[in-house]
């Protein structure tokens, strides 16, 4: 089996699953009905994407693990989602900002993955990119609405940026084993993903009138299984049914 490809698919699945789970927590709690529905729709897209990556990872591994086994029956240290995806929802503006930081990265990533020479990866990416473009449109729209809104909404967006910005660096972190996949043409990586990503983020934050906290060092760890304290709480809830009633099906 291609261990790196397995790890990579799992990582993409974990990112989609955890941010999808976080968004699903808004179900029934959105500020107004339309926005409640919007976030749960986006959550649904992410969970759908997670399923495709877990199905593929299970096939690559070849040990008979299903998408559910991978989603529900691993330990915290085995999840390799980025720290940003597991951060708490906080208020509406914080969720929007987290989503914006993630959507810009996600769009850039899937654009690259569409060029993969691995047919399955390319198919998943082509299938997902339209959804991701729509997510990005939604979070960008709200980013500007809130940062350009009242004094209070702007202040809240600034606080959210101060709280979350240092988790953005991990999104574009690069591992040596990924190089292998890139050389095989399985994952396509643009020349300098970090530079491409931050040039957009920093520019847009500036346009939105928010101060980028450049002096804060970036936090990493999620991709090697070292998570923030929030991850345990997410898994407790996410895995509850499967741990309590092993093998239960919808």
């Amino acid at each position: 089996m291609n261990q790196s490809l397995f790890k990579y698919s799992l990582h993409l699945g974990d990112n989609a699953l955890i941010i999808g789970h976080r968004l699903s927590e808004w179900c029934g709690h959105g500020p107004v009905l339309e926005q409640d529905i919007a976030l749960t729709n986006i959550a649904l897209d992410f969970v759908g994407q997670a399923r495709m990556w877990f199905q593929y990872a299970g096939e690559i591994e070849g040990k008979g693990r299903t998408e559910d086994d991978l989603a529900y029956l691993r330990l915290e240290r085995d999840y390799t989602n980025c720290l940003l995806t597991e951060q708490t929802n906080g208020h509406w503006g914080k969720t929007i900002l987290r989503q914006y930081l993630y959507d810009v990265y996600n769009y850039q990533l899937y654009e690259d993955l569409m060029e993969s020479q691995d047919e399955r990866i390319a198919a998943i990416a082509v299938k997902s990119i339209k959804e991701i473009a729509y997510h990005r449109e939604f979070s960008t729209d709200w980013l500007y609405r809130l940062s350009g809104g009242t004094e209070e909404s702007q202040q809240k967006m600034q606080e959210a940026l101060d709280e979350l910005y240092h988790y953005a660096g991990e999104l574009v972190e690069h591992f040596s084993w990924e190089q292998e996949l890139a050389q095989q043409g399985l994952i396509q990586r643009r020349e300098n993903p970090g530079e491409a990503y931050f040039s957009i983020i920093n520019h847009e934050m500036d346009r939105a009138g928010l101060d980028v906290p450049y002096d804060r060092p970036m936090q990493t760890g999620g991709r090697t299984g070292l998570h923030t304290e929030h991850m345990g709480f997410i898994l407790t809830e996410l895995q509850y049914m499967q741990r309590t009633y092993p093998g239960v099906e919808w």
């Binding site: 339309e34 926005q35 529905i37 919007a38 729709n41 986006i42 959550a43 649904l44 897209d45 992410f46 969970v47 759908g48 994407q49 399923r51 495709m52 047919e119 399955r120 390319a122 198919a123 998943i124 082509v126 299938k127 997902s128 339209k130 959804e131 473009a133 729509y134 449109e137 939604f138 729209d141």
Partner: protein
């Protein structure tokens, strides 16, 4: 033999093209472009369907409807295969199906999915499916299902759904 298989495949396709979408029952899975083909391979019946949106919960239901429709006609042990490529697009929805959507009260997708502005719903001008007025406005990018957005008509004041260009 080849002809017999082809004929049988056509017969089965004919059964399946009448299967309705569980969320929008005025359209069939053929109208929506979800049904991608039928084949008999070494005696095994394989039905290919493609998901609309990745997380669309209707897919499991559609799988069941397909199996049920086949069982009713005496075809058992069929396998429903989910294919990802080519990726589903609203461009596959026929003119006739678009009219059916409109008659049902849902504004049909506007524009070409390869056009980014159509895809994101920017400058999408919709005609109210109830009164025909063009004085309509977006209420929310998202609606009751993954494939729809919410609009309202300023003329007749009625809300309506838009089947997003995708």
């Amino acid at each position: 033999m080849v002809t017999d298989t082809t004929k049988e495949e056509e017969r089965i396709y004919d059964i399946l093209r009448k299967v309705k979408d569980p969320e929008i029952p005025v359209l069939t899975i053929e109208d929506l472009g979800i049904l991608r083909g039928v084949s008999i391979d070494n005696g095994e019946l394989i039905v290919k369907i493609t998901p609309t949106y990745n997380g669309c919960p209707a897919m499991d239901m559609i799988r069941r409807y397909v199996l049920l429709a086949l069982e009713e006609e005496g075809y058992e042990n069929a396998r429903v295969e989910l294919i990802l490529s080519p990726a589903w697009t609203t461009d596959w929805i026929s003119e006739e199906a678009r009219q059916k959507l409109k008659d049902y009260g849902i504004a049909p997708p506007q524009g070409d999915s390869r056009d980014k502005r159509s895809l994101l719903g920017l400058d999408t001008k919709l005609e109210c499916p109830h009164c025909g007025s063009e004085d309509t406005v977006l209420v929310s990018h998202f609606g009751s299902t993954a494939c729809k957005a919410q609009y309202k008509c300023n003329e007749c004041k009625e809300p309506f759904e838009y089947f997003k260009c995708h």
